[in-house]
């Protein structure tokens, strides 16, 4: 059964230096509050996995939490670059990070294979792309039935999955609504999971086919209202597009970034 913890306790108990951590939420329900708690607790040498490392990973990379990044699209959607990610990759600030990049299709398949307990995922992918030349985790196999050449990537099986969801009930069952992305897969693929929620309620109000994670499939739940902001939580609050645009200016400069981090993360306690 999922254990109810404060966000501070959940991060402290379940995320260790050196862990492989996948924080998911495909452009929706991005676990910012959890990311900020990881920064505050100064977790180090993390291998961070995420299909779309947006602002939350930009902040964590700039804060020095990451050793390696596995991703498929690293930008500020509709705005431009992730300047802290670029500074780390191009200039080694605050330190050099290793990157391993895939396509979305490959990562989605890899998470699904992880959830299914398989060692690899197979897809019709990477045809003609240079990505297999720079990522030794992309191989090609021959279909034993048709002979078709298909791409294979190892499944994603992180130490810890971190996601944000709309709500949990008092038993710890979790409801995810709207763009459900890859959240169910990452939780099932991971050894441990932390789910932050907008609120804890008596009744989830889930429809019969809703995306629900049973309490016994989740390790820890922490209540974190507005825990996805400046991303959004369908039914609770909208995406703060203006902040996404402002981030471009904040993150472009190391000093401005550090001042922002200090004021908005370090000097603010756990949600």
């Amino acid at each position: 059964m999922a254990e109810f913890l404060s966000l501070q306790e959940a991060v402290s108990k379940h995320i260790n230096n050196g862990d492989t951590v996948a924080m998911e939420g495909f452009t929706h329900l991005i676990p910012f509050a959890a990311g900020h708690e990881i920064i505050r607790q100064e977790k180090r040498d993390l291998t961070l996995i995420r299909m779309t490392p947006d602002l939350v990973y930009d902040q964590m990379i700039g804060a020095g939490c990451a050793k390696k990044l596995i991703f498929s699209w690293g930008g500020n959607p509709g705005v431009g670059s992730l300047h802290r990610l670029r500074d780390a990759v191009e200039k080694g600030w605050p330190h050099q990070i290793e990157i391993l990049e895939h396509s979305h299709a490959a990562m989605a398949n890899a998470y699904e294979a992880g959830a299914a307990g398989l060692p690899l995922a197979v897809l019709r992918g990477y045809v003609g792309s240079d990505l297999p030349k720079v990522n030794d985790q992309i191989k090609f196999i021959e279909c034993p039935f048709t002979g078709e050449r298909l791409a294979a990537v190892p499944s994603v099986r992180p130490d810890v999955a971190v996601i944000h969801a709309q709500r949990a009930d008092r038993k710890g069952n979790v409801l995810i609504e709207g763009i459900v992305g890859i959240q169910k897969e990452v939780v099932l693929a991971a050894k441990r999971s932390i789910v932050t929620v907008e609120e804890i309620v008596d009744d989830l109000g889930a429809s019969v086919n809703a995306c629900v994670l049973p309490s016994w499939a989740v390790t820890a739940i922490a209540e974190a209202p507005k825990g996805a902001a400046p991303s959004y939580a369908l039914g609770y609050y909208d995406r703060d597009n203006a902040f996404y645009k402002d981030w471009d200016g904040i993150a472009r400069d190391r000093d401005t970034f550090q001042a922002w981090l200090n004021d908005n993360v370090f000097e603010k306690g756990a949600a």
């Binding site: 979305h104 003609g128 990505l131 609050y237």
Partner: protein, 262 residues
């Protein structure tokens, strides 16, 4: 008499016209999204728009800033998980057109959104592949829209993130179960199509008041022009009005801080 228009508007309207009412389109963010929604709001009201965030048959009132804006989900017929989107809907063969933008494109319509320079020591690190590598091969055909400049239109891309026709124009030859690849590239200057034999991009239509010299100047290789070079029809007043309304609504929506609203 139609309204005056900018080259960007010419590009968006021309790109929109490429989409037909019966198409199922996997939409990239930015210029493709603008064109696809313009098509839906003008000549192709029933075009099916799909975004990689899982939103099927979506009808946003404003253009999304990200491919996962709430607007896309709330106006969609249904929203599926990301693995389902890529596995069943895209790889499963339900997408007629992938509509993509890019940072660099070369003469064989290969796309680079990974980096400028050498992979291990990049001059400029770009976002990466995202959905494009598999959209480009699993959709039945691909439309590309991008602003024309010598920085963007290079002879050989620094990195093939997403295949057009490969370094030699032959990358799709004898590969089973993939789409035809790029069939049209729409820029702010012209329309280009791959040569049926060599697959090299050829200018087939110049936009109004654009000279051959302007295209040559903005292209990083010796660009060829079709024997039957056409002039792209001007945008209609309605197309321009709908596009301007859409952009004004979008701009107003994204400049306001939305957080805190229920």
């Amino acid at each position: 008499m139609s309204l005056e228009f900018t080259s960007s508007e010419m590009m968006s309207v021309t790109a929109a016209r490429a989409l037909k009412n019966d198409m199922t389109c996997f939409v990239g963010i930015g210029l493709p999204s603008e064109a696809a929604n313009l098509a839906r709001l003008t000549h192709a009201p029933d075009v099916t728009l799909i975004y990689e965030s899982g939103t099927l048959q979506t009808k946003p009132d404003v253009l999304p800033l990200s491919i996962g804006d709430g607007e896309l989900c709330e106006s969609a017929l249904t929203t599926v998980s990301v693995p389902e989107m890529f596995r069943y809907w895209l790889q499963g063969g339900h997408i007629s057109v992938g509509f993509l933008g890019t940072a660099q494109i070369d003469r064989y319509a290969n796309l680079n959104t990974t980096l400028i320079g050498d992979y291990r020591e990049p001059k400029v690190r770009l976002p990466g592949g995202g959905g494009a590598p598999e959209i480009a091969t699993n959709a039945k055909e691909v439309f590309i829209t991008v602003k024309h400049s010598r920085r963007t239109f290079v002879k050989d891309v620094d990195f093939v993130t997403t295949v057009g026709f490969g370094r030699d124009g032959k990358a799709r030859d004898n590969v089973p179960n993939i789409g035809r690849g790029p069939t049209v590239v729409i820029t702010d200057l012209c329309i280009l199509k791959p040569d049926p034999e060599t697959k090299e991009l050829v200018v087939t239509s110049l936009h109004p008041n654009v000279s051959r010299e302007a295209v040559i100047e903005a292209t990083g290789w010796e660009i060829r022009f079709a024997d039957q070079l056409e002039t792209t029809p001007e945008p209609s007043t309605r197309e321009l009005e709908v596009l301007r309304d859409l952009k004004a609504r979008t701009s107003a929506h994204h400049s306001s801080t939305q957080s805190g609203q229920q």
